[in-house]
């Protein structure tokens, strides 16, 4: 259990009670592959990525396998997720054109939700999105979609409207254009990825520290005696943070999807 909470593979609680990693990044890296197929090494992160993928596919397949007149409870739950993403996020933000982007938004929403909830799943306790590669890749997909949509819908006007905004007074136009250019093409994908990454890293660190310190105080009862009671408030505080992290996991999946929809919307209908 302690190995899973600390998520550190070299940690041996039998010999050493407090296995503090040398660098905090070690909490998120699994450099030892679990197994290899040919030249491909499968670390814990890769295995969990595939697991998340199969969970998303499985949930949607089970929900929509058969069309029924009276849907099952599970089917209704999946339908409400799909209609939330399609109607509220895609159509509500992008407009009537948004239905085209609903499949993409649904996939990233479900994937990020499952990957975030791995943080709280007993036995896994590792949020996939706390490895920068995964949120960065998802943000690059969003970036590609809104750039390609912008150029294909508006042609080169898309770029001109960003660099040379007509609604701004002439004296400031070049400055605003420069800021807009950097913020649209560079800062948008970076902040999109960093927001998800940093939220999940912070959550994983807090859970590790609080639950781990609680466990360490309990485990050290032979050495420090009654003073190990100090582990109880830490453990309870950790459980409180556990509930808070559930909210964060769902909210971050929602915000990533919402921001993707907003970015696509600015490409579909540029400001007049």
């Amino acid at each position: 259990m302690d190995v899973l909470i600390l998520a550190s593979e070299s940690c041996d609680p039998a010999t050493e009670i407090i296995c503090a990693p040398e660098n905090v990044i070690e909490l998120f890296e699994f450099s030892v592959p679990l197994f290899s197929i040919g030249p491909l090494d499968f670390t814990r992160t890769v295995v969990l990525t595939f697991l998340a993928m199969f969970i998303v596919i499985g949930l949607l397949y089970m929900g929509f396998r058969k069309r029924r007149v009276v849907p099952t409870k599970f089917g209704v739950a999946m339908e409400s997720v799909v209609s939330f993403v399609r109607d509220d996020l895609a159509k509500g933000t992008i407009g009537p054109d948004g239905e085209r982007y609903a499949p993409y938004l649904l996939s990233i929403f479900m994937f990020i939700l499952v990957a975030n909830l791995f943080e709280l799943t007993p036995g896994i306790n590792f949020p996939l999105t706390s490895r920068m590669a995964i949120p960065l890749m998802l943000a690059i997909f969003t970036w590609l979609i809104f750039v390609i949509v912008g150029f294909s819908k508006n042609g080169l006007h898309y770029l001109f409207d960003i660099v040379w905004p007509k609604s701004v007074p002439l004296a400031l136009r070049w400055l605003v254009g420069l800021i807009e250019l950097v913020s649209v093409f560079v800062l948008r994908p970076i902040t999109l990825a960093v927001r998800l990454f940093a939220n999940l890293v912070a959550g994983h660190l807090m859970l590790t520290l609080l639950l781990g310190s609680g466990w360490i105080f309990f485990a050290a009862v032979g050495d420090i005696g009654a003073r190990s009671i100090i582990g109880i408030p830490w453990f309870l505080f950790g459980l409180g943070i556990f509930v808070f992290e559930f909210v964060v996991a769902v909210l971050q999946a929602y915000i990533f999807t919402l921001l993707s929809a907003v970015y696509i919307q600015t490409s579909v209908q540029p400001e007049h």
Partner: protein, 70 residues
């Protein structure tokens, strides 16, 4: 006088959290005011509130990420 130990990045993160803390307070407060004044527009206000929170929060998170880079 006692010696102070630790990473200065921690102070940097603390400083980075001040501004967004105030900002998120303003965003949520005004969103609640909007929802109370016009409950029928609550859904729109909530979506926009989350957007505002996300943009503001990013500043604090950049401070947090500097802790890893530094």
């Amino acid at each position: 006088m006692e010696e102070i130990k630790g990473a200065i990045a921690l102070i940097g993160y603390g400083l980075a959290a001040i501004g967004p803390g105030i900002g998120i307070g303003i965003v949520v407060g005004n969103a609640i005011q909007a929802m109370a004044r016009q409950p029928e527009a609550a859904n729109m206000a909530r979506t926009t509130m989350f957007l505002g929170i996300a943009f503001t929060e990013a500043l604090a998170l950049i401070g947090f990420v500097l802790f890893f880079i530094a």
